[in-house]
Symmetry: C2
Subunit: 271 residues, 2 copies
C-alpha cells in the first residue's frame, strides 16, 4: 500500500515533517511518498499546492494526506479544497493551552525555526566551529569542551559532534584512538585529565569494515581483522578506564546525541 503525503507549512516545514514522520512511522505496512511544500504563505501559493495535491491524487488513485502547520485559516481552507485528508498539527493543542495559560495564542506565522536570538545563534555557530577545529584530534586543547568523544576511526564521532553543536550549541571535541593507544591499552595523557567528560563510541566490526571499505577500498584499514582488533582493544581500554560507551551500529545520530546528553545530565534544549 502506498500513499502520498504533503508536509505543508508557511515556514520551513520542519515541524510538519518531524511530527509527520513520527506519526507515519507507526503505520509500518504503508509506503509513504513524501513531499515538502514550505513557505506556503499566500493564497496564490496555497492554490498551487492544492492543485499539485489534486494532480497527485489523479495520478495515484489514492487520496493524499496533508500534514499542515500553516497558521492562517484561509490558507488551510484553500489547501483543503484539494480534498486531501487534512491533519492540522497545531489545532488540537491550542485550545487546551489557551485555557491553561489564560491567554490567546498569537496566530502568527510559525516562527519557531526563525532566528530570533543572536546569543543562542552564536552559541550554535561557536560550538560548530569548536567541533570543526577539535575534530579528529586536530586541536587537543580540551579546556572548553563540554564533552569529548573517543573511538576508532569511522565510529561516528564527527557527525555526532557536528549534530550536537548545530542543534544544541554543545561544544564537543573528538579524539580517534590510535594504534599506539590501542596497543598500549592506555588513554593518552591529554585525555586522562578530562576523564569525566569522555564518552566512547563503538560499532560492530562488520559494519565498520563496510564503512571503511567504502572509504579506502582494499586497504588493510578496511579488513575485518583490523576492525575487530581495533574495536576489541578500544572496548578493553574504555572498560579499564571506566568510560561509558554506546554501540552506534543501529542508532541514528539524533539518538546517539540524546543518549550522550542523558548520560552527562545535559538538558540543553534545541534552539
Amino acid at each position: 500500500m502506498q500513499r502520498s503525503v504533503f508536509f505543508i507549512s508557511d515556514s520551513t516545514g520542519i515541524t510538519a515533517e518531524t511530527i509527520g514522520n513520527s506519526i507515519l512511522a507507526q503505520f509500518e505496512g504503508v509506503q509513504f511518498e513524501k513531499h515538502r511544500l514550505p513557505f506556503i504563505d499566500d493564497a496564490h501559493k496555497a492554490e498551487a499546492a492544492a492543485l499539485r495535491i489534486k494532480t497527485r491524487w489523479a495520478q495515484s488513485g489514492d487520496r493524499p494526506i496533508v500534514v499542515n502547520t500553516m497558521a492562517d485559516r484561509n490558507l488551510c481552507d484553500i489547501v483543503a479544497t484539494s480534498g486531501a485528508l487534512m491533519l492540522d498539527v497545531f489545532a488540537p493543542f491550542i485550545g487546551p493551552l489557551e485555557d491553561e495559560l489564560g491567554t490567546r495564542h498569537s496566530g502568527a506565522v510559525n516562527r519557531s525555526h526563525g532566528m530570533v536570538d543572536f546569543a543562542k545563534y552564536e552559541a550554535r555557530i561557536n560550538a560548530t566551529n569548536y567541533a570543526l577545529t577539535h575534530d579528529d584530534g586536530m586541536d587537543v586543547d580540551y579546556a572548553q569542551a563540554d564533552l569529548i568523544l573517543v573511538g576508532v576511526s569511522r565510529s561516528g564521532k564527527t557527525p555526532t559532534c557536528l549534530y550536537m553543536a548545530l542543534h544544541y550549541g554543545v561544544s564537543a571535541a573528538n579524539y580517534p584512538l590510535t594504534d599506539d593507544d590501542l596497543e598500549k591499552l592506555e588513554l593518552p595523557s591529554r585525555l586522562r585529565a578530562h576523564k569525566p567528560r569522555l564518552f566512547g563510541l563503538t560499532i560492530e566490526p562488520t559494519r565498520l569494515a563496510q564503512i571503511r571499505e567504502q572509504r579506502r577500498p582494499g586497504s588493510r584499514y578496511a579488513t575485518l581483522k583490523q576492525c575487530k582488533w581495533e574495536l576489541e582493544q578500544a572496548d578493553r581500554l574504555m572498560r579499564q578506564a571506566g568510560i561509558p560507551s554506546l554501540n552506534t551500529t543501529h542508532v541514528s545520530i539524533e539518538e546517539i546525541a540524546s543518549k550522550i546528553f542523558d548520560q552527562f545530565g545535559i538538558e540543553k534544549t534545541m534552539f
Copy 2:
C-alpha cells in the same frame, strides 16, 4: 508569566521538543522553562518523571505542561499522575489516519529517529564528509556537488552546508569569495562552470563586523569599512552573474536551508 514544560518521550524526545517549541512560540507573553526527558520507557522512569514534575510544580506554584510522545498508555497514565496538563502529540492524529488507511497503527515505541536504513544513513554521512572536505574552498572539484554556496567569510556558509548534509544528505560545497574575486568583480573560472548550482549568502555589514570581531578582535578584517566593501562587491558580483542570494542576518540555519532547497526545487525529505 512563567511555566515549566517537560518534553517527554520513550525515545530521543526530538519530535516532542520540535512540535512543543512550535506550539509554545505562539504564546509570546509566556516564558517557558523547558526540560527534556528522553528515553522514558519503563514504569520506574515514568514514576521518576512524575515525581520531578510534581516537585517543580511545588517549587514554582504553577501547573507544569507535559508535551508527550510516549506510545505506551500505561506510561502516559503514570506521568499524568503528576497532575500536569498532558498534551499527547500523537493521539489526535492516530484515529483519522487509521480510518483513512484502513489499518491499525503499530503502537510501537517511536522509531522515527532510530536508524533503520543504512543506505539513507550513509547518504547523510557521505554528504557530511563532502561538506567537510569541500568547506571554505579547500577542495574545489565540484563535480559531485548538489549545490555550492558562495559568499564572503563568515556569512554562514559552513553551518548551512553541514546542516543540509546532516539532515537531508545534500552534498553542498562552499567557496569564500576572496579579495581578488571581489576586486575583479569576477567569478573564479572553476565556479563559472557550475553557475546553475551556485547560491549566494549575504549578511548585514554591522552584523558581519560583530561576528568577525568576535573571531579576530581589532583586525582590519573585522572593521565595518572592510565588511561593507566586501558585501557591496559580493552583491554586485552575484547580481552581475545572476546568482540567487539570501540575506541571512535574521534567518536561522534551518530557514536558510529550506529557502535554498525551495530555490533549486530540491524536495529531499529529512531522514
